[in-house]
């Protein structure tokens, strides 16, 4: 059995103040807020105390908010951290680092319902491209670390992708449901192998935020949206 633990990063500057944020790609990501660091410290303390996750490998997205979260938490796991670029959030392209207002003025904000194949800006990914990249990475990681326990320090979009890919949903247009993944929450999947059947993923838990219930972003109504959209941009 292969275990995947997907951990969303702590509160980032883009999470805390979306209106004034810039597109948080490799260039624009300003990392964790003090609250985001505290959330990550809480997770580290929880994992160290319970010893529940006996991880063989820890992978982290290279985006600053995920990498910083990983650096704070990983001492509790007692293993070293490996960078995994393919568990980065949906890529925005050349809009990386621009304010939402600039993006809106230069490219307009996408509404993926109406234009699922639209990219935020040149060089970015559209929904289907993002899901293909994320799904391929999850499948590759599960194969490479078959039978092991893997912790991924990653993003809301990658956790969305795990649901869509493992549940076998359509990935060229956005799904009819959304997830509401809290900062530093744990989502756990197990891969089971059965005779004469394809391997099957099993969801063990989603959005386990026991350690930060009292420490969530004030604007707790904000889901983990990877990039500015028509809905989020106003």
């Amino acid at each position: 059995m292969t275990h995947l633990y997907l951990i969303r990063h702590g509160e980032s500057y883009a999470n805390a103040d979306w209106e004034n944020a810039v597109v948080p790609g490799l260039k624009g990501d300003k990392g964790l807020t003090p609250r985001g660091r505290e959330q990550a410290e809480r997770l580290r303390e929880r994992l160290a105390r319970t010893g529940k996750i006996q991880a063989d490998v820890a992978l982290a997205s290279p985006l600053r908010r995920a990498w910083q979260t990983a650096e704070i938490v990983v001492p509790a796991l007692g293993i070293s951290l490996v960078e995994e670029p393919d568990i980065e959030e949906m890529r925005g392209g050349e809009a990386d680092g621009m304010t939402v207002a600039e993006v809106k003025a230069r490219y307009g904000l996408p509404d993926y319902r109406k234009e699922p194949y639209r990219r935020l800006s040149p060089g970015g990914e559209n929904w289907g491209e993002f899901l293909l990249r994320a799904g391929s990475a999850l499948e590759r990681i599960a194969r490479e670390y078959a039978g092991k326990t893997v912790v991924l320090f990653t993003h809301g979009g990658i956790i969305d992708a795990s649901f869509l890919v493992f549940m076998g949903l359509h990935t060229l247009t956005p799904p009819p449901f959304e997830l509401y993944t809290h900062n530093t929450s744990i989502t756990e999947w197990e891969l089971h192998h059965h005779e004469d059947e394809p391997p099957r993923w099993r969801l063990v838990r989603y959005n386990d935020d026991t350690h930060v219930r009292d420490l969530l972003t004030q604007r707790g109504d904000t889901p983990a949206t990877p990039l500015p959209t028509e809905e989020r941009g106003e």
Binding site: R113, F163, F166, M167, G168, L169, P174, P175, P176, F177, E178, L179, Y180, W189, E190, H192, E197, R200, W201, R202, L203, V204, R205, Y206, N207, D208, D209, T210, D221, T222, P223, E231, R232, E234
Partner: protein
């Protein structure tokens, strides 16, 4: 902000019953637990529900407007333990029933297997589990229709539904728009006395209509040594 629209959503908290008599593995005790075979909660099951009751009373995290319970003994008994948290009357809802087993109800699994051909839902999801029982397709249809009814009847309210693992699995089928006439590509492992929470918006609201808030939340103290996962109907 379109997010405001989630404030008009109906919130559904699904609670799986505590461990039941006969849920424990083993060829002799393990019985088909329909209306006849359900022996109610085991002592450990009672304990689990009391821990959940104490947690909910302490945190006040679920402000229920209505509490629905499946009519099976193990779910009614679980709901009765929780009821003082809200002081509301329990509404009996027969359509929250676990997959209906038909003629094998009350038999030991090995006995039932020897006497009747058991449909393997992996290969034949549209055949009844046992004669007179439900197929996977009938089950997901029944649960989907119930969820539609509940979200209309209690629009905008907070609803607690005390039910069985299979029904919680079927919420993913209905709310994530998974194929209904075959088993999901991924599976679930819903724990006793755990909470799974969804929000559903009115049909005319902006997309997406549903969102998952948490799955398998059993943060209240539990007797982990004895935690038993229910095997899904296969």
């Amino acid at each position: 902000m379109a997010d405001v629209n989630w404030m008009v959503a109906t919130t559904l908290h699904f609670i799986r019953h505590g461990e039941s008599v006969g849920q424990v593995h083993g060829p002799v005790e393990r019985r088909v637990r329909g209306m006849r075979g359900d022996g109610g909660l085991s002592p450990r099951g009672v304990w689990q529900m009391e821990r959940l009751r104490d947690r909910l009373a302490r945190t006040g995290e679920i402000a229920a407007d209505v509490v629905l319970a499946s009519t099976l003994p193990r779910t009614m008994q679980s709901a009765e333990i929780l009821a003082p948290v809200w002081g509301l009357p329990l509404v009996r809802e027969d359509d929250l029933h676990e997959l209906r087993p038909g003629i094998a109800d009350g038999m030991r699994y090995d006995e039932a297997k020897a006497r009747y051909p058991r449909a393997d839902f992996t290969r034949e999801p549209l055949q009844p589990a046992w004669p007179g029982g439900e197929s996977w397709g009938m089950f997901t249809l029944r649960v989907g229709a119930l969820l539609d009814h509940v979200t209309r009847e209690y629009a905008g309210k907070t609803v607690v539904l005390v039910t069985s693992g299979g029904v919680i699995h079927a919420t993913f089928v209905a709310f994530c728009a998974l194929p209904t006439l075959r088993l999901p590509a991924a599976w679930f492992a819903t724990r006793n006395a755990s909470i799974t929470s969804w929000q559903v918006r009115p049909p005319d609201a902006v997309w997406p209509r549903t969102r998952l808030l948490r799955y398998n939340d059993d943060a209240h103290p539990r007797d982990e040594r004895h935690d038993v996962k229910e095997e899904p109907a296969r």
